[in-house]
């Protein structure tokens, strides 16, 4: 038996304090946040043992709307703050909620090092291909040729693929889904939360005002339908070339493996050193 969405949202949102939210009509961040809240509800964790950490950007506003321990930090820096929390208090469930700009641009270095460290932190990245909070500048995931206020003639830089980047940097769980596949997204986030080690879920999302509008992508419903059309499960991509995959959204679990986790390793070092 599943708990109705409304009851879960009411349980976790600070609905009397922080609303209305700042997200544009039709934005996908709410869908991703709801998927996270449903996944958290399924873990059985209490609100008091969860810490939600964010940096700066549209998605980074999420922690102020939810009733966990929350830390709204500097642009791009959520992961170092989260690392500090986990290192000092390993029993806490530390989750980072971030966006493509915060996590892959200004915070990109922190992302690869958190992956490499394999610390038990879960990162949910809302990838809407654009800097939304400042009004639509190109981000490191904006596909080539797409338009932004800073790329009126089309982007020339090649984009990052965040989930693959995380996997190659050492994340022991990395997955991608979309706001269209909200149930799948929820199940990936649940797996990530329950995974021991650094886990990352990339949620492809729509930014109708800051991205879709400049690229002729129609209304939010059309943008979400586009995610459905472009999505291809990773199981069907084995024989596809990079070029063939380039314009698709590869969904599924990109990486899932077991490896020693940082706080456990650290405890082992202390034990060896005779400090515990």
């Amino acid at each position: 038996m599943t708990t109705p969405n409304r009851i879960i949202l009411d349980k976790y949102l600070r609905h009397n304090k922080k609303f209305p939210h700042i997200w544009c009509p039709g934005c996908g961040i709410g869908i991703v946040l709801a998927a996270l809240l449903r996944a958290i509800d399924r873990t059985g964790w209490t609100k008091d043992e969860i810490v939600l950490v964010s940096g700066i950007g549209c998605s980074s506003r999420a922690p102020v709307y939810v009733d966990f321990n929350t830390l709204h930090t500097a642009h791009g820096r959520a992961l170092p703050f989260a690392t500090g929390i986990k290192a000092a208090r390993p029993p806490l469930k530390v989750i980072v909620f971030t966006g493509d700009g915060d996590c892959a641009a200004i915070g990109g270095n922190h992302l690869i090092h958190a992956c490499r460290r394999n610390i038990d932190v879960t990162t949910v990245v809302v990838n809407n291909y654009i800097y939304g909070m400042t009004g639509g500048q190109q981000s490191p995931t904006t596909p080539e040729g797409m338009k932004a206020t800073t790329a009126t003639r089309g982007v020339i830089d090649q984009p990052f693929h965040i989930a693959e980047l995380a996997a190659s940097a050492g994340a022991t769980f990395a997955a991608r889904s979309t706001t269209y596949h909200a149930k799948e997204l929820e199940s990936f986030i649940l797996k990530a939360l329950e995974h021991k080690g650094f886990s990352l879920v990339e949620a492809i999302s729509q930014a109708p005002v800051c991205f879709g509008r400049r690229n002729g992508m129609g209304d939010p419903v059309e943008m979400v339908k586009r995610e459905k059309e472009l999505a291809i499960p990773i199981s069907k991509t084995a024989d596809m070339t990079f070029e063939e995959k380039r314009d698709k959204i590869v969904t599924g679990i990109i990486e899932e493996r077991e490896a020693k986790e940082w706080t456990d390793l650290y405890a082992g070092v202390k034990k060896t050193a005779g400090e515990e």
Binding site: I106, Q137, T150
Partner: protein
Amino acid sequence: MADQLISANHAAAMAAAMAGNANRSARGFCAGLYPITPSTECMEYLCVAELSKGQVVRVESEHSAMGVCIGAAAAGARTFTTTSSNGLAYMAENVYVAALMRLPVVMVAANRALGPPWNLWADHGDSLMLRDSGWIQIYCADNQEVFDSVLMAYRIAEDKRILLPVMVCQEGFILSHSMAETNIASQEEVDGYLPTLDLPHRLRDDARTMGGVDTPAVTEAHRAQHHAAMSNFFEVYGEAQDEFERKFGRRPPDLLVPYKLEDAEAVLISMGTISSNVDCIVDEARLRGVKVGSIRVRGYRPFPELQLKELLRGIGRVGVLDRDISLGFGGALWGEARGVAEPGAISQGYILGVGGGDVRPKHIEALLEDLLKRDSATAPIVMETNL
């Protein structure tokens, strides 16, 4: 020349683009740019602007934005960036690098309060954090000044007696987003005002090293040279004003802008846009027979200490208005001004408009009344809570 109704962000970008084009017969223009409220529209304009010989790199952070400017300037390009608040804080390491490498980078800072908690509005605390970084700092009071100051900044920064980066500061939203009629020079006029950049230590065919390691004695010598270049600024600034007037037919303001100081017994000192409200209150007080004047500080680094001392001669009451707070001390401008006031004068600091709080005439009236009735100065007064 043509008047256009534009924001200070666009005025800054237009000036930077024209300064870049003016260097087209040399190494052109290069900007490292990254968005942050409230300076975003300036960088967006430059991303759209066609530069005849230039590049704009849409980097991943403010730190990289200044990095691109440093590299491009070392290669001989005219460079520009713009940022604000925590973006400037993140950029800080490279802000120092640009200055210590003596590179004539020009930056426009849209002044905004530092967070957290996050605040988007005007506060001089961000650029004042970098007052000791070795950059020249100029604070503007209107959109025309922003346009003119960016052009002047290149001329001053690239002068062989200076070779230092210049930060042109404008208050976020109050100027950055306010439309005002601004006289925009033609490209030909700008070409005439800005000679091509000829950096003596440019990275070129003849291989050389920038950076490297200093021994203590060499560091002392480098700081002494840097400090001496700062003191050359006052002369170079005056020449840049004269030449600006010859080329464009208007004279940019002095580094200190006095108002009704003749016979004044009290003076209000401020920076940026607060000064225009101060002048209105000075006018009203004068009608009531109060002998009060004002000084706007436009040049903060290097600080025009001797000039200010001259203006403050014989004035017994000095009120200093700071849109910033050096926590544990008081206003940064007050700290500078009280040191040069007449011995025995009452130098009272007032902190107001921090975090974008509205500085209204009634606030200035209240602090003037306070200043006039004082027997002595006290600790700086934080207006929002104390009056």
